[in-house]
């Protein structure tokens, strides 16, 4: 196991960047295009995790553990966010029998 860093460094860094960019864009598109609140929440998670991946990759390339530290922070915050987000969606569903966000447009100018 000894040298995970060396192993990871065998993969070019551009691959990681391209992969996480693709994942991030998928997440953004999901948020933009889907109406289902649960899917939107999943897409937000996707964006967060694409960033996590990038951070972990950079961390490995630089040999600096701080990036991985930040990844754990993001994971904890994301877990908390999901808890709150799902609770909101549950309340949404109870009140409207639907998880379609397009009917929640009361905050109109």
């Amino acid at each position: 196991m000894g040298d995970v860093n060396t192993f990871i460094q065998q993969v070019p860094l551009e691959y990681f960047i391209i992969l996480s960019t693709v994942l991030f864009c998928l997440g953004v598109l999901g948020v933009l295009l889907r109406k289902n609140a649960i899917v939107i929440l999943g897409c937000v998670e996707l964006m967060l995790n694409s960033v996590n991946l990038l951070l972990a990759a950079f961390s490995a390339y630089k040999g600096d553990g701080n990036g991985q530290l930040l990844v754990f922070f993001i994971m904890v915050v994301a877990a908390a966010e999901v808890a709150v987000g799902l609770a909101i969606i549950a309340m949404m569903y109870r009140n409207t029998r639907s998880v379609d966000v397009s009917i929640f447009n009361k905050l109109r100018g």
Partner: protein, 631 residues
């Protein structure tokens, strides 16, 4: 003594506050009694200070607190007790309490009774600040205060639109003078770095005689005096001020407030003595005012209007004295005039009261028998103002004439002519009102009655004062100046030497004889016209030539309207047009622009969360692309 000085000023203020806050629910007797008592108490206190004050006592400055200090000029809120301020306070509180007493009777049927006494007390308070203040700024506070009270009291019966207009006219014309006074005070502060009388007097010697700085200061102060004391060209407000209740005319517009200008000049004698050119200006304005006002007084038919023009004319006499450098004589005339003019106004009030509100003398006549107390006291007042010896008016007026003769016999002639006009209109007033047949309606005749005691007692007291008031400053030739008590009393307040005219005893006798004979001749001539020939009820339309000029007040109001009021109105209209045509569209454009852009931006916030995210993502994308391109 300090506490006593505070009491003098604060008692009327207390009366003002109590009557103003609670007077509505208090009985009339209490309101009137309280207002009169506080002023009378001030008078008693002043008298006690006066008795302990010697003619050579140094001025006492009572400092309440330091008001502010700016740029090295320290301004205290304090009062100065000296010979001059004591004299003025005696006049104000003495005559003030008599007029308060009189008002209890005169205003007894008015529903604004408590309001009237509230204003009167406030007036006395302001007037006391004016004369007691130890520096020019306190004088200015009082100056504005009396102006305000004058406005309030002229417009006391504000439901009459003309009265409201008269009040505004008085206020606005006074503002012009006030600005002069304010500029004068600033100029003093800039020049000598102090505005309290004692320091300014001390440092006044730094001014060269007739230097431009001193002329600027004195002329500015004099403009203030011109406004307050109704001199040419700002005198037209005073006759209109007769719209107020008669006691107000007596107190404010005859005895006290209008003499504030004279007080200001005498108080600033250390400045005016250094500016002979300004004194000459004062002299000429005084003569012109006394002549013009006396001329207009000849053919006025409203009893109060005659007295108003007479007041303007007499104020002119005071300024003649000041212009001749005879400050004491000016103050002397202030005092005697306060006695007999207050008496005349209160007498006129009593006549109006008896006539059920009628003020036109052409519809009076024969009141001599019906209201004897008023008649006798009014007669004394008339004889005093016209100059029958040995009444007070004669003594002070003779002093003015003597001083002016020493300066120039020609100006003496003009002043004497003005005195002759005074005698003519006053005797005309007397004969039209009290002699001949009654010319009013039957109803008025039925109602004729003498006024109650609260009104006649002040008349009697003032009549006595009008007789003996002159004795405090008898001419030099009687007892070799031993009886010139007032001149001796006021001596310490003059910083620079006052020259006394050197006139031969014989000349002085001749001048006196000329004056007295002239007045007697006029008496009989006027009597012949109005009593024997009965030329008394001519309608104003029948006036031609000079009579019309006099009755229409020399068309001065019309001239002012055409020259000042109209152009201002036109300028105002032009400014309004500019505002509507140019400024409004600009302001509206900005306002509408903000409104429209807001309405457009509102569409972005449609409540659809995806849209927000889309815009955010696009924006981030644009930022990234721009960033990339710029590299």
């Amino acid at each position: 003594m300090e506490n006593l000085v505070y009491a003098i000023v604060l008692l009327p203020l207390a009366g003002f506050l109590i009557n103003g806050l609670f007077g509505k629910n208090l009985p009339k007797a209490f309101v009137g009694g309280l207002a009169t008592l506080v002023v009378f108490a001030s008078f008693v206190i002043t008298t006690s200070i006066f008795l302990g004050f010697k003619s050579d006592s140094a001025p006492v400055v009572v400092k309440a607190f330091e008001w502010f200090r700016v740029n090295g000029i320290q301004v205290n809120f304090g009062f100065q007790i000296d010979q001059l301020s004591l004299m003025m306070v005696m006049i104000i509180t003495g005559i003030g309490s008599l007029i308060h007493l009189y008002s209890i009777g005169y205003m007894s049927h008015d529903k604004g009774f408590y309001k009237f006494f509230t204003y009167l007390n406030l007036f006395i308070f302001s007037m006391l600040l004016l004369v007691l203040g130890s520096n020019y700024l306190i004088l200015f506070i009082g100056w504005e205060g009396v102006g305000l009270c004058s406005y309030l009291l002229i417009g006391f019966w504000y439901t009459n639109e003309d009265y409201g207009k008269a009040a505004r006219k008085a206020f606005i014309m006074n503002r012009i003078g006030d600005l002069g006074l304010l500029i004068g005070i600033f100029a003093i502060a800039a020049q000598v770095n102090a505005i309290d009388y004692l320091s300014v007097a001390e440092n006044s010697s730094k001014f060269a005689l007739d230097s431009s700085a001193i002329i600027f200061i004195t002329v500015s102060l004099f403009i203030g005096a011109v406004g307050k004391s109704a001199q040419i060209p700002l005198f037209t407000w005073l006759p209109d001020a007769m719209a107020g209740p008669t006691p107000v005319s007596a107190l404010i517009h005859a005895a006290t407030m209008v003499t504030a200008g004279v007080y200001l000049v005498v108080r600033s004698n250390f400045l005016f003595s250094l500016a002979p050119s300004t004194l000459n200006l004062i002299l000429f304005i005084g003569i012109a005012t006394s002549l013009v006002a006396a001329f207009i007084g000849l053919r006025q038919n409203d009893i109060k209007k005659v007295l108003a023009y007479s007041t303007v004319s007499q104020l002119g006499f005071m300024f003649i004295a000041l212009g001749a450098g005879a400050y004491t004589t000016g103050m002397f005339h202030v005092m005697t005039h306060a006695f007999f003019k207050a008496l005349l106004f209160l007498g006129a009030g009593s006549v109006i009261h008896a006539m059920s509100g009628e003020q036109d003398m052409r519809f009076m006549g024969g009141l001599r028998k019906k209201i004897p107390v008023t008649y006798w006291t009014f007669l004394i007042g008339t004889l005093a103002i016209t100059g029958i010896p040995p009444l007070s008016g004669m003594v002070s007026k003779d002093e003015i004439l003597t001083h002016i003769y020493a300066k120039s016999p020609l100006l003496w002639g003009l002043t004497l002519f003005s005195a002759a006009l005074t005698a003519i209109y006053m005797f005309r007033l007397l004969f039209l009102t009290f002699f001949g047949e009654f010319r009013g309606t039957e109803e008025q005749k039925h109602h004729l009655h003498e006024s109650p005691a609260v009104m006649t007692i002040p008349l009697i007291v003032l009549a006595i004062l009008s007789v003996v008031g002159g004795f405090i400053n008898l001419p030099h030739f009687i007892g070799h100046g031993h009886f010139q008590k007032l001149a001796h009393w006021l001596e310490p307040i003059y910083v620079y030497d006052i020259e006394t005219p050197e006139i031969l005893f014989a000349t002085e006798m001749i001048l006196l004889a000329v004056t007295v004979i002239m007045v007697l001749v006029i008496f009989f001539a006027v009597k012949a016209i109005y009593v024997t020939k009965k030329k008394n009820a001519l309608p104003e339309e029948s006036y031609t030539g000079w009579e019309k000029l006099s009755a229409r007040k020399l068309f001065i109001d019309e001239i002012y309207n055409a020259m000042i009021v109209r152009p201002f109105e036109e300028a105002g209209k032009a400014a309004a047009m500019f505002d509507k045509a140019v400024l409004d569209p600009i302001v509206n454009f900005i306002g509408l622009g903000a409104q429209d852009s807001g309405r457009a931006a509102k569409r972005l916030q449609n409540g659809n969360v995806e849209n927000y995210v889309l815009i955010m993502s696009l924006a981030i994308g644009i930022v990234l692309i721009v960033n990339f391109l710029l590299k």
